[in-house]
Each structure stands twice: as structure tokens, then as C-alpha cells.
Symmetry: C3
Subunit: 185 residues, 3 copies
């Protein structure tokens, strides 16, 4: 990976190692770093997980907890920090959906904030949620659709995309513009 890349998008399943991979890659870079956590601590389990994650990051990292206004926080954070890591889009979408926000509008805000304000190096983590059986639940189906579309938009503006499975990162996009293995091999 070239250090010149600006936006790295990391997708993977639950417990695929996607966040650790993004964190490790980001930690190797020089400069001021900020971790934007979209998780909301609804229960004890979640609180513990958030605290544990915070301890795993070394003192190089500032932490911002923001469950909704991701576009704005990204805008600010990328002017004060060199490296921004957003973890993760799926929880953010889920927060918006539960709060009955206009998802299309929020997604557009976020993507345009990402395109126009990434002076710094940005890592974005998201879940792949569309490779299981169609959910019975209508809300789950809607969420799955929107997640998939957001992941597509993210991948199209990202300079590089990794799909992580069992902790192994597989780079599936490498350069500016449209890219895929089929052009290289």
C-alpha cells in the first residue's frame, strides 16, 4: 500500500478482524490520530467492549464517540488530526435507523464530507451483512439493503478496499478510480 492513498475502506463479517487490521495499519502511520467510535453503550457488555477497545489503542490515539453526526465530526477531526479511523459504518447506520433519521440524506452528507475533507488519511470500517439468508424481519431487510448500498458508495470513493476474512485482509481495490482484480490478472 502506498502512503499516498487517502481513503482506506475495510469491510468484513462479524469478528473478522476488520477493526484490528484497520487499527494496526493506521497505527503505523506518523502523525496525530483520532478514533471515531460510532458504538453506543446500551448495556454493560457494550460498555466493556468499548473500554477494552480504548485500552488497546495506545496513547497516540484520541477518541471521539459519535453515534450520529458522522459527517460533521469527520470534517472537524480531519482538520485537527493526520489519521482518522471511523469504526464502524454499520453501527452508525443502525443508530440512524433506530433514531428514524433520513438515511439517504445522512449517507450523502457523510460521503461528501469524506470526499471534500480528507486532508488527512482516513480509514473507514464496515460490516458485510448481505451474504446470509434473506431476513424475515422487514426492518432487517431494509437495513441490509441500505448497508449494501453504503458499502458500494464507500468502496467507489475509497482509494483502496480490503475484504477481511478470518483476520486475513484481501485487497480488492488498489487505485484511484474503478479497480478490481479482473483488470490486473
Amino acid at each position: 500500500m502506498s502512503e499516498l492513498s487517502k481513503i482506506t475502506f475495510v469491510i468484513g463479517g462479524a469478528r473478522s478482524g476488520k477493526s484490528s487490521f484497520a487499527l494496526n495499519r493506521a497505527s503505523e502511520l506518523p502523525g496525530k490520530k483520532v478514533y471515531i467510535a460510532t458504538a453506543q453503550a446500551f448495556d454493560e457488555e457494550m460498555k466493556e467492549r468499548i473500554t477494552k477497545h480504548k485500552e488497546e489503542r495506545n496513547s497516540d490515539w484520541d477518541t471521539i464517540e459519535e453515534s450520529m453526526n458522522l459527517a460533521e465530526v469527520l470534517r472537524t477531526a480531519s482538520s485537527t488530526h493526520d489519521v482518522v479511523l471511523i469504526d464502524c459504518l454499520t453501527l452508525w447506520l443502525s443508530n440512524l435507523l433506530l433514531a428514524d433519521k433520513d438515511l439517504e440524506k445522512e449517507m450523502q452528507f457523510f460521503i461528501s464530507s469524506l470526499i471534500t475533507h480528507h486532508a488527512s488519511r482516513v480509514f473507514v470500517v464496515s460490516n458485510e451483512v448481505g451474504m446470509g439468508i434473506v431476513p424475515d424481519n422487514e426492518l432487517a431487510r431494509r437495513f441490509r439493503d441500505i448497508s449494501g448500498r453504503l458499502n458500494q458508495q464507500m468502496a467507489s470513493v475509497a482509494d483502496e478496499v480490503y475484504l477481511v476474512a478470518a483476520g486475513i485482509p484481501v485487497r480488492i481495490k488498489k487505485e484511484d478510480g474503478y479497480a478490481g482484480y479482473y483488470q490486473k490478472n
Copy 2:
């Protein structure tokens, strides 16, 4: 990708961009094109989606809506058109299952129609549905098993196979016969 390839199989999760990828690739090819849609418009949402998809294809494309008799339609279509795109196998299987058809027999009909009658260039789109947790529902488990087996059969007769994630196509099979990354890298 060589223009000589005859069957291209495209799999991916929900909203992975698999249909758009197949459509874009197919649209680049010369000749008369036909889009075989297996979706049934049970409700307004589905009707809108089908109409929207139809508008996205340009006037080069004819459209056939066929939810069940895919083998027969493919046979006819490949004699009248140069490029055939089937979208998608998963909905077709789901239609057959709901109509209580003999799935094994229908799958064999389809695969043999595909092998023997593809004078034209054929693209087939399908869903990956087996990478989530085991469904509670017995019918869903059965559907998942059959889908997986059909995807395997499709991939084994296809000249090239793409796995699409977040809109990014990853070619996982390249040539006639058995192929996989492990032989090349």
C-alpha cells in the same frame, strides 16, 4: 477478460452491486441483448424496483420476465440473441421452492440448457446466502443448501466467476475447467 468466454457467473451478497456489474459488462459487448428477469412483482416495492431496473438498461436490451421455466427461456433466447443476462438464480430457486417444484430436476434442466445452448454469451447472476448464521427456519435452511449447491454447479460450468463485494468484482475463476487462485499465485 477474453471476449471468447462463453459463460460468466457473478455472485455476491444482497446489494453488493453484482447485477450492475453483470449488466455493465454485458452492455459493452456487441450484438442483440436480452435480460431475463426472474423476479416476481408480488408487491408495489418490487414493481417499482423492476421498472427502475428496466429503465436503467438502454434500448439495446430486450426484457423477458420468467420466474420458473428458465431452461426453456434460455434455450430460446440464446438462439435469438447474442448476449443473455439472467438475473437472478436465487429468486428463481425461491420461486420454484414456493411453487413446490422438483428443485433437483429444474436445476439439472437449467444447467444442461446452459451447457448445450449457449451459442451466445451468457451472464448469470446469483446470491451468496450461506455466510450468515444457520437459519432457525427449516425452509430457509433447505433453501440455503440448495442455493449453495446450485452456485457450485454454476461455477463449475462457468468460464469465469466473479465474487462481488461492495461493488468491487473479484475474479475467482478465469478459464475453462477447474481454476482457482491457488494455481496461479
Copy 3:
């Protein structure tokens, strides 16, 4: 693939062809072979499946059915056989969970048995279960988390890792130590 590899880890969705791929690869190797089946035959369907699988393996293969004590069985088997195939980790985890075992401890036993006793060539098959929508069911969520973590641990100690989709194996790790496509391309 080099014959020198010691541990091969194969992951994939339901009916992805992961077991067949592992079995085919393992069958090509010389020496005494043992298949360790973790499936429990709770019902007729499962019994038939197990019998069918047994018939598919040729007479080169011994079979051990072990639903729980995988670490111990692996230890013994790898001293009496040249090639060991474990199919699959996901069912094993599921058995442990249903029997209310200490999953963390069992996982550690297994991984350390794998690292210290693989004089023979070992193949391990597992399911990817984390790429669907978050399950409603708390136990399913817990299982998904643990499966993902076990898959990560397996991949990190494996010499090579394959992700299988639609019967196509994609090698995502190739050598000792940490590896991924991003270092090679």
C-alpha cells in the same frame, strides 16, 4: 501449494464446497489418512449425510467421529496418521456451546494441540458465519462472535488459508507468519 505446508485452513459458507475441496487436496497426499468428523447425528437427515460423506471418501481414509474432545483426538491421530482432516470447527463449537462447555478453554486446548502436535499434515474446515445480518437470538450472536474469533486464531496459526465460494477456492494466506494479498500485489 507447497507440500511443505503443515496446516491448511479452509473456510467458506454453507454448501460452498469447502469440505470437498479440503478432502480432494488431502486425498492427493501420500500416507495414512484420517478424517475427524465433528458432526453429531441428531436426526435421520444428519445420519444420511454422514453416511454419504463416508462413502465419498475412498478406502485410504480412516474415520473418527468426535464431537467434543477435538484437541485430544487430534493429538492421537496426528501420531498415527500422516494426513488429518478435521471437518468442521463450526459444528464442534456448536456442540460445545450446547453442552455448556468452557469455550475459551476448549479453543485454547485445540489451538495449542494444533501447534505442538502436527507432525502430520493437517487440514481444518470451518464455516464463515459472520457475513449475514446480526441475529435476533442472543445465543446465535454469541456463537457468531466465538466462531469468528476461532476462525481468526485458526488462520493465524495456519500456513495457508483458503476462502471457498461457489466451489472455487481462493487462497488468502500463503506462507508462514502473517500474510495477505496486500503484501504481494
